[in-house]
Amino acid sequence: MMADRGRGRRTLSFIVDSVAISRGDSLPPAVQQPTPVFPVSPAPLFSPDSYPQVIEQKPLPLTGGEEAEYLTALKQDFRGAMRSLPCFIQPAAVHRDVERYSDKYHLSEQMDGLTDWIIDWKRFPKELRVRIRKPSRDGAALTCLGGGQSVQMKKKKVVEKEEVLLKLETLEKKEEQESSEEEGEGKNKQKEEEAEAEEEYDEEEFEEETDYIMSYFDNGEDFEGDSDDNMDEAIY
């Protein structure tokens, strides 16, 4: 079709009559660039300021009224509520500018929200199931429904410790088999009692293998909302 253009003659691809352009009119200017993204009205050709005008047709105003406001409020409440539910998954890594020592001990805080969500695993495929760890000897209760690498490493450490202790026990037993069998049993019972006693301790203190309570690692960056007005101590 393109090759069929008349030799040297200029023919238009449309019929002048049906497109309703009379002879005198010039063709509209050729399009040089794609249409602007935000709709603008065509500015007059010889305007002093070539700033794009606002669109001619302004959109209708939003319908106000009680129902619309209530719907908006519902929407915002729903969004806010979803953020606090266990379904809202925050990425495990919090990007900080500087790596801090207390980061290691803060990860467990995020886990608390997840314990609310009890899943009926019968309705989910088996491969999605994540095992829940029982409280280990150290008394650290790690209910895991996910979590980053460091949590897994903690579990591994705990498991390794348990294995080492077991080995020591078995070695002890082998060395002093005859006379100290009773002692060994006694030791086992003691250890079990110790473990139980340890489990009764508040998990806050025994989260990790530290000597400090967890709030020791609170670096005060979370604004606590305490007012300074009623302090009895002197301020230096």
Binding site: A20, Q57, Q76, F78, P91, I119, G146
Partner: protein, 631 residues
């Protein structure tokens, strides 16, 4: 020379018209399901999809077109889902909704699933570069909320389960405020909270829902009052009776073999992986779908005590987790969106009649629709015929109009050009139906006309309406019928044409499409135009959400500061403080900052309100499009 136009030159047509051709290697990217994970093919697929990107701007995901020959594995997903098209705008909107409600990690997994079709866990982990545990958690969240379905592997019993995200379900999140508000108007605050809890959690048992809602309502009551569980249970049962709530299908996903369903649920066997199930088991295919289980639930709502110490709160939380059995373990409930949509559709028809005619006629239509609620299926073209006698007897007591007036109103309704009500017979004083599909088509048409009017002006709207009515017109005829001078008519037609609202049909007189010997007819096709405007609506909502996120991000520091100060104020007031302290704290925000906050709040409210209103338009267009696909 014959006028040749290759069909794959047209943007957006790619993947729709082309049949699967085994010669065409580059078509491998358009297969509905991903090939078995071999490295080479994976790379090849990525290359081909990037080269096609400029053509497939509208249709992003390669799940369209005819399924490859000889591959029957697509059938296990059911006929509805195998023709599963995802457009660019829909994916973008789904991603934003997932981000707002479930976090960015779920957004990443969800959008990946939406773009790639069905995938198994390993592939998802590989391609999203997230940890396995995180992906598992995200999938759990998605399945819990019904946004993702899983199916046992299609390549035999040993293959891993595959996950597929449902775009429609995720888009429903836009209408959540409307569902909650409808429940409030129909069943009061209790109903509102029940629906809200179920929407937040996805699936829940009846007992846990009742307890949570009772506790929440008790919180807002005065001291010493609490709500009994039985009140909430009765509202729950009412919601189930009217089908607003339904049981989740047992077993969770589609065709999961070997998952033990709950004992009370009917023993409908989930199709084993080897067999081919005809269609996805909908919740309604189970006969117990709307049966309320026997639940022993006695008690009253508990008011949550202000925790004195962090310790007590944690212990209290643990105490709550000791679940007491109430006899309905394993029976989960979800919100029945279809029923809500039916309700919205009825409301739209009634309000349209009220706007066009008057209040009494809308009451008559409301009566007809109410009587046919139970007997009409969601996809029916029109309601079951009702005689004028029945309608007369069922009119609400406040409208005691005499019988002849009712007959006159019915005649008016039937004669109205909107064709909401039709007459299907003469027995019983006249048999009347409500034409649901035609009503939806008319509502969609009115929406389209209104969009054209607001964007291009009333004269262009006149041309648009003319073309809708008269189908095909030449340019001269358009000018004559619309009574608009030729030059302006030409301009308007061309601007409508450039926005794709009007199409040009060429009818040749001679085999070569010589312009002097061809008829050029302008036409408007309602269905494709509705589809296009629906995509525009999705884009609009996505833009609104992005703008709102941008605004909140800009003022993040200020928002956090104001939140902290509100928290301080609340704690001070709870512990009893003097007004000077309160005012001191309030002064921590300066006046210009307060002004900035007010402006921000105004903007955010406006954007949210706009989203809700676009959602109404989306609903009408979507209902219209889905009604045409079923009829």
């Amino acid at each position: 020379m014959a006028h040749e136009r290759k069909c794959y030159d047209l943007p957006g047509v790619w993947g729709l018209l082309l049949p699967y051709n085994s010669d065409r290697k580059t078509d491998a990217g358009e297969q509905p399901q991903p090939p078995p994970s071999s490295r080479k093919k994976h790379k090849h697929r990525r290359r081909s999809s990037s080269s096609r990107r400029q053509l497939s701007e509208e249709y992003g995901s390669p799940t369209s077109g005819a399924p490859p020959k000889g591959d029957t594995s697509e059938q296990t997903w059911g006929a509805e889902i195998s023709v599963y098209k995802m457009t660019l705008q829909e994916t973008r909107l789904c991603g934003l909704l997932l981000r707002e409600h479930f976090g960015e990690v779920v957004e990443k997994v969800g959008t990946h699933l939406l773009r790639s079709g069905a995938q198994n866990l390993r592939t998802i982990v590989q391609e999203t570069n997230l940890s396995v545990d995180l992906v598992k958690k995200c999938l759990c969240v998605l399945v819990q909320h019904g946004a993702c379905l899983f199916i046992a592997g299609r390549k035999g019993p040993g293959s891993p389960t595959e996950y597929r995200a449902c775009c429609d379900r995720i888009l429903r999140v836009l209408s959540y405020p409307r569902y909650i508000y409808t429940a409030k108007t129909l069943y009061g605050d209790t109903g509102e909270l029940i629906i809200e809890e179920l929407l937040q959690r996805g699936h829940m048992t009846m007992s846990s829902t009742v307890k949570t809602v009772a506790d929440r309502l008790t919180q807002n009551m005065e001291e010493g009052h609490s709500l009994d569980y039985s009140d909430v249970s009765s509202t729950f049962s009412k919601l189930v009776e009217t089908h607003f709530l339904q049981r989740c299908p047992p077993g969770g996903g589609a065709g999961t073999s070997g998952s033990a369903g709950p004992a009370e649920a009917p023993a409908t066997p989930a199709a084993p992986a080897a067999a081919v199930s005809k269609a996805l088991p909908t919740p309604e295919s189970f006969p117990d779908c709307y049966t309320v289980p026997q639940v022993t639930l006695v008690g009253r709502g508990k008011r949550q005590l202000v925790p004195e110490d962090g310790e007590d709160q944690r212990n209290a939380k643990r105490a709550k987790m000791n679940s007491e059995t109430h006899g309905d373990e394993g029976i989960y409930w979800q919100v029945n969106f279809e029923r809500f949509h039916q309700h919205f559709r009825d409301q739209a028809i009634i309000s349209a009649v009220a706007n066009k005619l008057d209040q009494t006629s809308s009451e008559i239509v409301r009566t007809i629709l109410r009587m046919s609620e139970v007997t009409t299926s969601p996809t029916a073209t029109c309601t079951k015929p009702l005689s004028a006698n029945e309608i007369f007897r069922s009119l609400p007591a406040s409208y005691n109009i005499p019988r002849q007036i009712l007959d006159q109103y019915l005649t008016l309704l039937v004669d109205d050009p909107m064709e909401f009500v039709g007459k299907s017979g003469e027995s019983g004083g006249g048999m009347f139906v409500v034409n649901l599909h035609r009503a939806l088509a008319n509502l969609a048409r009115a929406t389209l006309e209104s969009i054209v009017q607001e964007r291009f002006g009333s004269r262009s709207a006149r041309i648009f309406r003319l073309l809708l009515r008269k189908r095909h017109l030449e340019q001269k005829q358009v000018e004559d019928f619309a009574m608009i001078p030729a030059k302006e008519a030409k301009d308007m037609l061309y601007s409508l044409l450039s926005h794709n609202l009007v199409q040009l049909q060429e009818i040749p007189k001679t085999p070569d499409f010589a312009p002097s010997r061809t008829f050029y007819l302008y036409t408007v096709n309602q269905l494709p135009t509705a589809r296009m405007l629906l995509q525009n609506c999705y884009k609009t909502v996505a833009n609104l959400i992005e703008r709102r996120l941008f605004e909140t991000k800009e003022n993040k520091r200020l928002l956090e500061k104001s939140q902290r100060i509100e928290a301080i104020l609340a704690s001070l007031q709870a512990s009893g403080a003097e007004p000077e302290q309160l005012s001191e704290v309030e002064e921590m925000i300066s006046a210009p900052e307060k002004q900035q906050l007010d402006v921000l709040r105004l903007h955010v409210n406006k954007l949210d309100s706009a989203e809700n209103q676009v959602d109404e338009t989306i609903f009408i267009l979507e209902s219209y499009i889905s009604s045409t696909s079923t009829s």
